[in-house]
């Protein structure tokens, strides 16, 4: 660590010296950026397989010099290198460091790292990875800094280091009781060598002050409550212009004629600038279009409205969601590429007592982060600075550099708070737009703000899918043969125009790795061509897969006349540990198959805990009420939900209560695990009841929160109870938290509706399907 004054607010003030850390992966290409979203098999097929943080671009570091600085007044500044988008990482990550550092949380300040993966390790805040990938490096980081303080104190007192111990912001000499505060030791500690990793003493978890307690308030809580917190959209720079952009309404479209005469007459409008479209594939690049720059956002919006533009819509002009759904259904009903084949489905199904089939549909979704994408940029003396709400600041940096023809070393990306992320802000197209516009204005600061229409019209959408399931059951109704055909345009189409099949990453999200005790399983994946930018949305392909699978199991239970919870447990089978590879899953959320096998015992347990907590089958519910259950394994965590619904005689749905049981291994901040489960539940309810992006003539039909509805307070569950399976052993692997709470909710909700009304929902959103 280094000495620093209390005014330290930027990690740049940290003096880097004596850096000893692991070698980083070099030579990141665009393939590397694709890898950044977790596609190791494509980008680095030649290299030996690496897992966890090792498998991510630029890996990890545990170097205290990069993360910790201590002022002479004792203020400890800890750098958070992951983006805060509501998961609480700016509290959680520094909390880990502070605990090992024996720092007094009241004297800890948090600074946000700029995009610099060589210095901080991977910063791509995605895939529910931050805590599980950085818990151990951050512990070591704090322990190393603590060791340096202890060494400095021992040196000062001329005593063996074994006689001193850091405790709550001071180092104590045991034999004499002498004490030195961290501030007094800061300067000397900074000159100590960084201890070797193997020599570090980590705290015994029973001595943790903060980790696992859930008692610390959010570091940004009061700033948020008082309106002081700064998001990308809040960026203000001296002399800044405000821009909005008219983008092609159809993917691949180009503007052919621009008449800006009226736009330029709008008071406050300064200039109209064209942004060149990017060649396919879409990647994270701007779509191009026409920008209006003005003295404030409203003038820019008025100016844009006054533009007269002619578009060539290009090859996706006929994209139509109704027609596309029919096409997906057609594909889902024919044999296709087999991606997993256990036993002999055809034979077993032919010999089954009964055959059942069902098809499920989930439309495109948009993240609709409350803060729409926004970023500001300026270029001075050949160096570009960008401020924005980036989930992947290094990708922003690399792509801004590429687009401007600069070295990434000359681009600085400042990460603000993110007003929601959900995967949308992993794609820094909006940051590149800001940089392009600043360049067009001779380096003047420019902020680009996306309106809600822009956000819904030009997002990176959750895929659209048809899930076709067939089962052959025995005389007790238990499935002995299972066929799942999953068809959806792939995320990879955004990076490769020829990609038509779901990739390992998508298949590994609950379709190929379905851990059921069924001897004959065939999973197939027909091709699908994308006509829009397919991206990732919180929990990604787990949403359609879990919806279909957990609904279908409930349908089989109903056909067998059995309790859905008992039936689900039977389908999962006896507790056992299964290798993901045995399930055909080569991805396993990027984690080691040995360290992270599929443990059906853990899946069973969350189902049992959720059911027990909800009072499953213990109570006779009033007419029109029902409970539904679903359990799903994703992001190497196990989650089950019991949803209780009430459907009134007119078909109006309310949700009195949801019980969620989560096993994500040991936890750092249980309160934020809870809040993520609560939020995921509400988002899952929104996916199930309201969410739909549809296309007509290549264009998104929804414009704002009136047509693209999301859950509001009245539609949200009245009560959400979260049950965390205790994970006291910090040697055990951690699971993801941000995303895996979503997938069980839509099927549990639809199963509850079935229990309440007898109506089976197979097409989302539910919207008016219950209306009588």
């Amino acid at each position: 660590m280094s000495t620093a004054r209390t005014s330290v607010s930027s990690p740049e003030s940290v003096v880097l010296a004596n850096v000893s850390r692991r070698r980083f992966l070099e030579g990141m290409s665009l393939g590397g950026l694709v890898l950044a979203v977790g596609f190791p098999s494509i980008a680095r097929a030649q290299e030996p397989k690496k897992y966890g943080a090792d498998g991510m671009p630029n890996g990890w570091t545990d170097n205290p010099l990069a993360f910790v600085s201590i002022g002479e007044d004792g203020t400890v500044t800890i750098v958070c290198h992951r983006s805060e988008m509501g998961q609480g990482i700016r509290t959680g990550m520094p909390m880990i460091v502070a605990d090992e550092l024996e720092a007094d949380w009241k004297r800890v300040r948090v600074a946000q790292a700029p995009g610099d993966e060589k210095k901080y390790g991977n910063q791509d805040t995605d895939g529910s990875r931050s805590t599980r990938h950085f818990f151990e490096p951050m512990r070591r980081c704090g322990a190393a800094a603590r060791t340096m303080l202890e060494a400095a104190a021992a040196e000062r007192w001329k005593v063996p280091v074994s006689e001193v111990a850091a405790k709550n912001h001071e180092v104590v000499h045991g034999p004499t009781g002498r004490k030195l505060g961290y501030g007094a030791l800061a300067k000397a500690a900074a000159t100590q060598p960084v201890p070797a990793r193997a020599s570090l003493r980590l705290k015994d978890p029973k001595d943790f002050r903060y980790i696992g307690k859930g008692e610390l308030k959010l570091v940004d809580g009061m700033d948020i409550a008082t309106g002081k917190a700064k998001y990308g959209i809040d960026t203000r720079l001296p002399g800044m212009l405000y821009a909005v952009v008219a983008r092609p309404p159809v993917l691949g479209g180009k503007v052919t004629k621009v008449d800006d005469a009226e736009a330029l007459k709008v008071p406050g409008v300064v200039k109209v600038v064209q942004i060149d479209p990017s060649a396919p594939p879409a990647h994270f690049n701007p779509l191009g279009g026409v920008a209006v720059l003005a003295r404030n956002t409203f003038a820019a919006m008025q100016g844009r409205q006054a533009l007269k533009l002619t578009w060539d819509d290009g090859p996706n002009a006929s994209y139509d969601s109704t027609a596309y759904k029919a096409k997906l259904e057609e594909s889902a009903r024919k044999p296709a590429k087999v991606v997993r084949n256990d036993g002999d489905f055809d034979k077993a199904a032919a010999g089954a007592s009964k055959r059942l089939e069902a098809e499920y549909y989930i439309p495109h979704l948009a993240h609709a982060t409350m803060e729409p994408p926004a970023a500001a940029a300026r270029i001075t003396n050949g160096k570009c600075e960008v401020w924005g709400c980036f989930q992947s600041p290094q990708a922003a940096r690399d792509l801004v550099a590429k687009r401007l023809g600069m070295s990434a070393d000359d681009v600085t990306v400042h990460v603000t708070l993110l007003g929601g992320g959900f995967g949308r802000k992993s794609k820094p197209d909006f940051g590149i737009e800001a940089a392009v516009l600043s360049k067009a204005m001779g380096g003047k600061p420019v902020k680009v703000t996306w309106t809600r229409d822009d956000d819904l019209h030009n997002s990176y959408y959750h895929t659209v899918s048809v899930e076709h399931l067939e089962a052959g059951v025995n005389e007790w109704g238990t499935p002995v043969a299972w066929l799942h055909r999953s068809v959806a345009p792939t995320i990879f189409s955004t990076f490769d125009v020829n990609a038509k099949n779901e990739a390992a990453l998508e298949l590994g999200m609950g379709v190929i790795n379905v851990p059921f005790a069924i001897p004959n399983v065939r999973i197939e994946n027909p091709e699908a061509i994308a006509h829009t930018r397919i991206g990732w949305f919180r929990s990604v392909s787990n949403i359609p897969h879990a919806f279909a699978i957990q609904s279908f199991v409930a349908e089989l239970a109903a056909a067998a006349g059995r309790d859905p919870k008992d039936f689900l447990l039977d389908v999962i089978g006896e507790p056992r540990v299964v290798s993901p590879e045995k399930l055909g899953d080569t991805w396993n959320h990027g984690e080691s198959p040995e360290r992270y096998p599929v443990d059906t015992g853990r899946l069973r347990r969350v189902i049992e805990v959720a059911a027990h907590a909800a009072g499953w089958s213990k109570q006779q519910l009033p007419k029109g009420q029902g409970m539904g259950i679903a359990g799903h394994y994703s992001f190497v965590s196990y989650i089950a939900a019991v949803v209780r619904v009430a459907v009134d005689p007119k078909g109006v749905l309310t949700i009195p209560r949801v019980d969620v049981a989560v096993d994500c291994g040991p936890t750092v901040n249980p309160d934020r695990v809870r809040s993520q489960m609560e939020g995921a539940t509400v988002m899952g309810v929104g996916v199930a009841t309201l969410g739909e992006i549809s296309y007509k003539n290549g264009r998104v039909e929804q414009n704002n929160f009136d047509s693209y509805q999301v859950t509001r307070m009245t539609g949200a569950p009245k009560e959400i109870r979260v049950h965390i399976i205790p994970g006291a052993d910090y040697g055990k692997p951690m699971g993801g938290v941000g995303e895996p709470g979503v997938p069980p909710i839509p099927p549990a909700l639809c199963n509850a509706i079935f229990a309440a009304t007898g109506k089976r929902i197979r097409r989302l959103p539910i919207r008016d399907q219950l209306t009588v």
Partner: protein, 154 residues
């Protein structure tokens, strides 16, 4: 030029009268605590108080509020209700991303000033215009109740 009374201070803004208050606050005056979410009064992120009433600033032209008292999230902590709500928000751990919370607190403050001890239904009705995409609704309800219990409401 329009003169506005914002948080007890008279301020001049030199933009056309049809400019929504939100953009005058954010871009012209640097009061970025009030957020943009939809531009059509559909999400509540921009909520401010106009003469004590919760109002969506994104559709309110400045010309319409020239003679009104405007209070934003930056000053709502100046009274007991606002202060109690802000404290409850932190204590209950309401915020996730936090972006909508300024608007949520403004709506909650207007509710408690009008209805010091609201029922669940009254809370739901008053807060239904404020979207939280992170889904913090159960905690918002809990924080409002805590603020009431701790005597923030008049």
């Amino acid at each position: 030029m329009v003169t506005l009374d914002i948080n007890g201070k008279r301020q001049n803004v030199d933009v056309p009268g049809e400019t929504p208050l939100l953009w005058a606050l954010r871009d012209e005056l640097g009061l970025t605590g009030s957020k943009f979410g939809c531009g059509l009064a559909l999400c509540g992120a921009c909520t401010v108080h106009i003469d004590g009433k919760a109002t969506r600033s994104c559709i309110t032209p400045i010309s319409a509020v020239a003679n009104s008292k405007i209070v934003t999230i930056g000053a709502i902590g100046g009274d007991a209700v606002g202060r109690a709500l802000q404290a409850a928000w932190v204590d209950v751990g309401v915020p996730q991303c936090g972006y909508c919370q300024a608007g949520q607190i403004m709506s909650a403050a207007a509710l408690l000033k009008r209805t010091p001890n609201p029922t669940d239904t009254q809370i739901d009705e008053a807060m239904d215009g404020n979207i939280c995409r992170c889904g913090t609704y159960t905690r918002i309800r809990a924080a409002i109740k805590q603020a009431v219990a701790k005597g923030g409401a008049r």
